[in-house]
Protein backbone atom coordinates (compact mmCIF):
# COMPACT_ATOMS: atom_id res chain seq x y z
CA UNK A 1 0.00 0.00 0.00
CA UNK A 2 2.73 2.38 1.03
CA UNK A 3 4.81 1.41 -1.98
CA UNK A 4 1.85 1.99 -4.28
CA UNK A 5 1.32 5.44 -2.83
CA UNK A 6 4.97 6.27 -3.17
CA UNK A 7 4.80 5.26 -6.82
CA UNK A 8 1.59 7.10 -7.58
CA UNK A 9 2.69 10.37 -6.03
CA UNK A 10 5.38 11.29 -8.60
CA UNK A 11 3.05 10.21 -11.40
CA UNK A 12 0.28 12.41 -10.02
CA UNK A 13 2.79 15.23 -9.60
CA UNK A 14 3.99 14.86 -13.19
CA UNK A 15 0.42 14.75 -14.44
CA UNK A 16 -0.51 17.87 -12.54
CA UNK A 17 2.47 19.75 -13.99
CA UNK A 18 1.23 18.94 -17.47
CA UNK A 19 -2.36 19.72 -16.58
CA UNK A 20 -1.23 23.07 -15.19
CA UNK A 21 0.82 24.00 -18.25
CA UNK A 22 -0.67 26.72 -20.45
CA UNK A 23 -3.04 25.90 -23.27
CA UNK A 24 -0.85 26.13 -26.41
CA UNK A 25 -0.28 22.52 -27.39
CA UNK A 26 3.34 21.42 -27.33
CA UNK A 27 4.69 20.58 -30.74
CA UNK A 28 6.11 17.14 -31.20
CA UNK A 29 7.96 15.52 -34.05
CA UNK A 30 7.81 11.77 -34.34
CA UNK A 31 10.02 9.47 -36.38
CA UNK A 32 10.73 5.78 -36.03
CA UNK A 33 10.86 2.27 -37.37
CA UNK A 34 9.44 -1.13 -36.61
CA UNK A 35 10.89 -4.56 -36.47
CA UNK A 36 9.38 -7.44 -38.39
CA UNK A 37 7.48 -10.06 -36.42
CA UNK A 38 4.73 -12.64 -36.66
CA UNK A 39 2.47 -12.61 -33.60
CA UNK A 40 4.14 -9.66 -31.98
CA UNK A 41 6.81 -7.14 -32.82
CA UNK A 42 8.38 -3.94 -31.61
CA UNK A 43 8.47 -0.38 -32.90
CA UNK A 44 10.87 2.33 -31.86
CA UNK A 45 10.08 6.01 -32.11
CA UNK A 46 11.89 9.19 -31.30
CA UNK A 47 9.66 12.01 -30.13
CA UNK A 48 11.12 15.48 -30.07
CA UNK A 49 9.25 18.11 -28.14
CA UNK A 50 9.98 21.49 -29.71
CA UNK A 51 7.16 23.16 -27.89
CA UNK A 52 7.39 25.39 -24.83
CA UNK A 53 5.81 23.07 -22.36
CA UNK A 54 6.30 19.51 -21.29
CA UNK A 55 4.19 16.90 -23.00
CA UNK A 56 3.40 13.35 -22.20
CA UNK A 57 2.89 10.31 -24.40
CA UNK A 58 -0.34 8.74 -23.21
CA UNK A 59 -0.89 5.83 -25.57
CA UNK A 60 0.01 4.25 -28.89
CA UNK A 61 -2.19 2.35 -31.28
CA UNK A 62 -1.97 0.84 -34.74
CA UNK A 63 -4.55 -0.82 -36.97
CA UNK A 64 -1.98 -3.59 -37.53
CA UNK A 65 -2.10 -4.90 -33.95
CA UNK A 66 -4.71 -5.62 -31.31
CA UNK A 67 -2.71 -3.77 -28.71
CA UNK A 68 0.33 -1.53 -28.44
CA UNK A 69 2.04 -0.37 -25.27
CA UNK A 70 5.35 1.11 -24.32
CA UNK A 71 7.64 -1.29 -22.49
CA UNK A 72 11.10 -0.93 -21.12
CA UNK A 73 13.84 -3.56 -21.38
CA UNK A 74 16.37 -3.59 -18.58
CA UNK A 75 19.50 -5.63 -18.01
CA UNK A 76 19.75 -6.36 -14.30
CA UNK A 77 22.86 -8.33 -13.34
CA UNK A 78 22.84 -10.13 -16.66
CA UNK A 79 19.12 -10.85 -16.65
CA UNK A 80 16.96 -9.28 -19.32
CA UNK A 81 13.66 -8.07 -17.95
CA UNK A 82 10.81 -6.18 -19.54
CA UNK A 83 8.25 -4.02 -17.79
CA UNK A 84 5.59 -1.53 -18.83
CA UNK A 85 7.30 1.85 -19.07
CA UNK A 86 6.37 4.51 -16.52
CA UNK A 87 5.03 7.96 -17.41
CA UNK A 88 6.61 9.21 -20.61
CA UNK A 89 7.05 12.91 -19.98
CA UNK A 90 9.05 14.86 -22.55
CA UNK A 91 10.44 18.18 -21.35
CA UNK A 92 10.46 21.13 -23.79
CA UNK A 93 13.43 20.91 -26.15
CA UNK A 94 14.02 17.29 -25.16
CA UNK A 95 13.50 14.00 -26.94
CA UNK A 96 12.14 10.66 -25.93
CA UNK A 97 14.29 8.19 -27.82
CA UNK A 98 13.29 4.54 -27.94
CA UNK A 99 15.91 2.00 -28.98
CA UNK A 100 16.56 -1.77 -28.94
CA UNK A 101 17.42 -2.89 -25.44
CA UNK A 102 15.48 0.00 -23.89
CA UNK A 103 12.12 1.60 -24.34
CA UNK A 104 10.04 0.18 -27.18
CA UNK A 105 6.46 -0.01 -28.35
CA UNK A 106 5.36 -3.59 -27.95
CA UNK A 107 2.88 -4.56 -30.66
CA UNK A 108 0.71 -7.45 -29.56
CA UNK A 109 -1.72 -9.54 -31.51
CA UNK A 110 -0.53 -8.60 -34.98
CA UNK A 111 -3.36 -9.04 -37.46
CA UNK A 112 -0.90 -10.41 -39.99
CA UNK A 113 2.86 -10.95 -40.09
CA UNK A 114 4.76 -7.68 -40.14
CA UNK A 115 7.14 -8.14 -43.08
CA UNK A 116 10.38 -6.27 -43.71
CA UNK A 117 10.02 -3.69 -46.46
CA UNK A 118 6.42 -2.82 -45.58
CA UNK A 119 5.26 0.21 -43.63
CA UNK A 120 3.43 0.44 -40.32
CA UNK A 121 1.05 3.24 -39.32
CA UNK A 122 1.36 4.30 -35.67
CA UNK A 123 -0.91 6.70 -33.85
CA UNK A 124 0.52 8.37 -30.78
CA UNK A 125 -1.69 10.24 -28.38
CA UNK A 126 -0.13 13.07 -26.36
CA UNK A 127 -1.55 15.00 -23.43
CA UNK A 128 -0.67 18.29 -25.09
CA UNK A 129 -0.09 17.73 -28.78
CA UNK A 130 -3.08 15.47 -29.22
CA UNK A 131 -3.00 12.70 -31.77
CA UNK A 132 -0.07 12.27 -34.14
CA UNK A 133 -0.04 9.57 -36.81
CA UNK A 134 3.18 8.48 -38.48
CA UNK A 135 4.01 5.69 -40.89
CA UNK A 136 7.29 3.95 -40.14
CA UNK A 137 9.33 1.48 -42.18
CA UNK A 138 9.42 -2.17 -41.14
CA UNK A 139 12.99 -3.44 -40.95
CA UNK A 140 14.29 -7.03 -40.66
CA UNK A 141 13.81 -8.64 -37.23
CA UNK A 142 17.47 -8.38 -36.37
CA UNK A 143 17.75 -4.69 -37.25
CA UNK A 144 19.27 -2.41 -34.64
CA UNK A 145 18.01 0.80 -36.19
CA UNK A 146 17.41 2.67 -39.43
CA UNK A 147 20.71 4.56 -39.22
CA UNK A 148 22.75 1.46 -38.49
CA UNK A 149 25.29 2.23 -41.18
CA UNK A 150 25.98 5.67 -39.74
CA UNK A 151 26.47 4.44 -36.24
CA UNK A 152 30.10 4.61 -35.14
CA UNK A 153 31.25 3.17 -31.84
Amino acid sequence: MLATMRLTLPIAAAASIIAASPAPAADVMVSGWARAGIGNAAAYVTVHNHGRSADRLLSVSTPAAAMASVHDSLLVRGVATMRPAGPLVIAPGQSLAMAPGGKHIMLMGLKGPLRPGTRLPLTLRFAGAGTVTVTVPVLPPGAIGPAEAHRGH
Binding site: R35, A36, G37, I38, G39, N40, A41, A42, M67, S69, H71, S73, L75, G78, V79, A80, T81, M82, R83, P84, P100, G101, H104, M106, L107, M108, G109, P116, P140, P141, G142, A143, I144, H153
Partner: protein, 204 residues
Protein backbone atom coordinates in the same frame (compact mmCIF):
# COMPACT_ATOMS: atom_id res chain seq x y z
CA UNK B 1 7.59 -41.11 39.42
CA UNK B 2 8.81 -38.56 36.91
CA UNK B 3 8.51 -34.98 38.02
CA UNK B 4 7.23 -32.27 35.69
CA UNK B 5 10.83 -31.14 35.03
CA UNK B 6 12.09 -34.57 34.04
CA UNK B 7 9.08 -35.12 31.77
CA UNK B 8 9.76 -31.81 30.04
CA UNK B 9 13.42 -32.71 29.60
CA UNK B 10 12.45 -36.06 28.11
CA UNK B 11 10.21 -34.30 25.58
CA UNK B 12 12.97 -31.87 24.75
CA UNK B 13 15.46 -34.67 24.16
CA UNK B 14 13.06 -36.55 21.91
CA UNK B 15 12.39 -33.36 19.97
CA UNK B 16 16.13 -32.94 19.50
CA UNK B 17 16.40 -36.53 18.26
CA UNK B 18 13.59 -35.87 15.77
CA UNK B 19 15.25 -32.68 14.50
CA UNK B 20 18.57 -34.51 14.24
CA UNK B 21 16.91 -37.27 12.20
CA UNK B 22 15.36 -34.77 9.82
CA UNK B 23 18.67 -32.94 9.35
CA UNK B 24 20.47 -36.23 8.72
CA UNK B 25 17.81 -37.33 6.21
CA UNK B 26 18.09 -34.03 4.33
CA UNK B 27 21.88 -34.31 4.24
CA UNK B 28 21.77 -37.92 3.05
CA UNK B 29 19.00 -37.51 0.50
CA UNK B 30 20.34 -34.31 -1.02
CA UNK B 31 22.27 -34.90 -4.22
CA UNK B 32 25.98 -34.65 -3.62
CA UNK B 33 27.22 -31.07 -3.69
CA UNK B 34 28.03 -30.01 -7.25
CA UNK B 35 31.54 -30.84 -8.37
CA UNK B 36 31.35 -27.69 -10.46
CA UNK B 37 34.11 -25.21 -9.61
CA UNK B 38 33.03 -21.61 -9.21
CA UNK B 39 32.90 -19.40 -12.33
CA UNK B 40 36.36 -18.22 -13.26
CA UNK B 41 38.05 -21.15 -11.49
CA UNK B 42 39.95 -23.82 -13.44
CA UNK B 43 37.68 -26.61 -14.58
CA UNK B 44 34.52 -24.49 -14.54
CA UNK B 45 32.29 -25.46 -17.39
CA UNK B 46 28.73 -25.14 -18.65
CA UNK B 47 26.55 -27.05 -21.05
CA UNK B 48 26.70 -30.81 -21.23
CA UNK B 49 24.79 -33.25 -23.43
CA UNK B 50 21.08 -32.67 -23.98
CA UNK B 51 18.18 -33.71 -26.18
CA UNK B 52 15.48 -31.18 -27.02
CA UNK B 53 13.03 -30.78 -29.91
CA UNK B 54 13.94 -29.06 -33.18
CA UNK B 55 11.70 -26.77 -35.23
CA UNK B 56 10.82 -29.83 -37.37
CA UNK B 57 9.29 -31.43 -34.27
CA UNK B 58 11.99 -34.14 -34.20
CA UNK B 59 14.35 -34.79 -31.29
CA UNK B 60 17.51 -32.75 -31.48
CA UNK B 61 20.56 -34.08 -29.69
CA UNK B 62 23.51 -31.92 -28.72
CA UNK B 63 25.68 -34.46 -30.56
CA UNK B 64 24.30 -32.88 -33.76
CA UNK B 65 26.23 -29.74 -32.82
CA UNK B 66 29.57 -31.54 -32.69
CA UNK B 67 32.29 -30.54 -35.11
CA UNK B 68 31.41 -26.85 -35.39
CA UNK B 69 31.58 -24.09 -32.80
CA UNK B 70 28.27 -22.67 -31.70
CA UNK B 71 26.77 -19.70 -29.92
CA UNK B 72 23.73 -20.52 -27.81
CA UNK B 73 21.17 -18.03 -26.55
CA UNK B 74 18.07 -18.53 -24.41
CA UNK B 75 14.97 -16.41 -25.00
CA UNK B 76 11.38 -16.58 -26.20
CA UNK B 77 9.47 -15.54 -29.29
CA UNK B 78 7.07 -13.22 -27.45
CA UNK B 79 10.09 -11.13 -26.52
CA UNK B 80 9.91 -8.29 -29.02
CA UNK B 81 13.04 -6.41 -28.03
CA UNK B 82 16.00 -8.14 -26.39
CA UNK B 83 15.72 -11.51 -28.18
CA UNK B 84 15.55 -10.29 -31.78
CA UNK B 85 18.23 -7.72 -30.93
CA UNK B 86 20.55 -10.47 -29.70
CA UNK B 87 19.81 -12.85 -32.57
CA UNK B 88 20.16 -10.04 -35.10
CA UNK B 89 23.43 -9.05 -33.53
CA UNK B 90 24.79 -12.60 -33.70
CA UNK B 91 23.74 -12.86 -37.34
CA UNK B 92 25.44 -9.55 -38.09
CA UNK B 93 28.62 -10.57 -36.27
CA UNK B 94 28.68 -13.83 -38.20
CA UNK B 95 28.43 -11.81 -41.41
CA UNK B 96 31.20 -9.46 -40.27
CA UNK B 97 33.38 -12.46 -39.54
CA UNK B 98 33.25 -13.18 -43.26
CA UNK B 99 33.58 -16.94 -42.94
CA UNK B 100 30.07 -17.76 -44.06
CA UNK B 101 27.06 -19.14 -42.20
CA UNK B 102 29.06 -22.29 -41.45
CA UNK B 103 31.68 -20.50 -39.33
CA UNK B 104 29.64 -21.11 -36.19
CA UNK B 105 26.08 -22.14 -35.52
CA UNK B 106 23.56 -19.91 -33.80
CA UNK B 107 21.31 -21.85 -31.41
CA UNK B 108 18.19 -20.35 -29.88
CA UNK B 109 16.58 -22.24 -26.98
CA UNK B 110 13.18 -21.06 -25.80
CA UNK B 111 12.56 -20.53 -22.10
CA UNK B 112 8.83 -20.36 -22.88
CA UNK B 113 8.07 -23.82 -24.35
CA UNK B 114 4.36 -23.49 -23.44
CA UNK B 115 3.96 -20.96 -26.25
CA UNK B 116 7.00 -21.73 -28.37
CA UNK B 117 5.99 -24.90 -30.15
CA UNK B 118 8.35 -26.17 -32.88
CA UNK B 119 6.19 -24.44 -35.51
CA UNK B 120 5.98 -21.07 -33.71
CA UNK B 121 9.73 -21.17 -33.14
CA UNK B 122 10.45 -22.17 -36.75
CA UNK B 123 8.27 -19.42 -38.23
CA UNK B 124 9.87 -16.86 -35.93
CA UNK B 125 13.46 -17.83 -36.73
CA UNK B 126 12.78 -17.95 -40.45
CA UNK B 127 12.20 -14.18 -40.32
CA UNK B 128 15.89 -13.62 -39.63
CA UNK B 129 16.91 -14.88 -43.05
CA UNK B 130 19.97 -16.67 -41.71
CA UNK B 131 20.33 -20.25 -40.39
CA UNK B 132 19.43 -20.38 -36.69
CA UNK B 133 18.78 -23.65 -34.87
CA UNK B 134 15.63 -23.33 -32.74
CA UNK B 135 15.07 -25.69 -29.82
CA UNK B 136 12.10 -26.31 -27.55
CA UNK B 137 10.89 -29.17 -25.37
CA UNK B 138 8.89 -29.86 -22.25
CA UNK B 139 9.05 -27.33 -19.42
CA UNK B 140 11.24 -29.77 -17.46
CA UNK B 141 13.61 -30.50 -20.36
CA UNK B 142 14.10 -26.84 -21.17
CA UNK B 143 14.56 -25.93 -17.50
CA UNK B 144 17.27 -28.57 -17.13
CA UNK B 145 19.17 -27.45 -20.23
CA UNK B 146 18.91 -23.81 -19.10
CA UNK B 147 20.20 -24.75 -15.67
CA UNK B 148 23.14 -26.67 -17.15
CA UNK B 149 24.01 -23.54 -19.10
CA UNK B 150 23.81 -21.31 -16.03
CA UNK B 151 20.73 -19.56 -17.42
CA UNK B 152 18.15 -18.04 -15.12
CA UNK B 153 14.58 -17.65 -16.31
CA UNK B 154 11.29 -16.85 -14.60
CA UNK B 155 7.75 -16.14 -15.66
CA UNK B 156 6.65 -12.62 -14.68
CA UNK B 157 3.04 -11.42 -14.71
CA UNK B 158 2.42 -8.49 -17.04
CA UNK B 159 -1.22 -7.80 -17.93
CA UNK B 160 -0.09 -5.62 -20.82
CA UNK B 161 2.02 -8.40 -22.38
CA UNK B 162 0.63 -11.04 -24.75
CA UNK B 163 -0.81 -13.91 -22.73
CA UNK B 164 -0.52 -11.86 -19.55
CA UNK B 165 3.08 -12.71 -18.86
CA UNK B 166 6.63 -12.10 -19.94
CA UNK B 167 9.84 -13.98 -19.17
CA UNK B 168 12.87 -12.68 -17.35
CA UNK B 169 15.93 -14.50 -18.62
CA UNK B 170 19.73 -14.33 -18.59
CA UNK B 171 20.80 -12.30 -21.59
CA UNK B 172 24.27 -13.72 -22.20
CA UNK B 173 25.26 -15.75 -25.24
CA UNK B 174 27.35 -18.84 -24.44
CA UNK B 175 30.10 -19.90 -26.80
CA UNK B 176 31.11 -23.51 -27.34
CA UNK B 177 34.04 -24.80 -29.36
CA UNK B 178 33.95 -27.42 -32.12
CA UNK B 179 34.76 -30.01 -29.43
CA UNK B 180 31.58 -29.02 -27.55
CA UNK B 181 33.55 -27.44 -24.72
CA UNK B 182 32.40 -24.20 -23.09
CA UNK B 183 34.67 -21.35 -24.19
CA UNK B 184 33.11 -18.18 -22.78
CA UNK B 185 30.21 -15.78 -22.97
CA UNK B 186 29.15 -12.61 -24.72
CA UNK B 187 27.29 -10.42 -22.25
CA UNK B 188 23.99 -8.81 -23.13
CA UNK B 189 25.53 -5.36 -23.06
CA UNK B 190 28.96 -6.21 -24.45
CA UNK B 191 30.43 -3.97 -27.15
CA UNK B 192 30.70 -5.03 -30.78
CA UNK B 193 34.52 -5.12 -30.89
CA UNK B 194 35.09 -7.53 -27.97
CA UNK B 195 32.17 -9.69 -29.16
CA UNK B 196 33.66 -9.92 -32.64
CA UNK B 197 37.10 -10.68 -31.20
CA UNK B 198 35.63 -13.57 -29.19
CA UNK B 199 33.93 -14.99 -32.26
CA UNK B 200 37.17 -14.67 -34.26
CA UNK B 201 38.96 -16.69 -31.59
CA UNK B 202 36.09 -19.18 -31.47
CA UNK B 203 36.29 -19.83 -35.21
CA UNK B 204 40.05 -19.62 -35.71
Amino acid sequence: MATEGVRRLRWLLWALVAIGAVVLAVLLLRPPASQQPAPGMPGFTLGGPFTLTGTDGKPFSSTQLAGKPYAIFFGFTHCPDVCPTTLGRLAKLRQQLGKGDDAFRIVFVTVDPARDTPKVLGDYLQLFGTPIIGLTGSEAEVAQVAKNHGIYSAKVKDPSAPGGYTMDHSAQVLLFGADGKFVGTIAGDEGEAPALAKLKRLTS
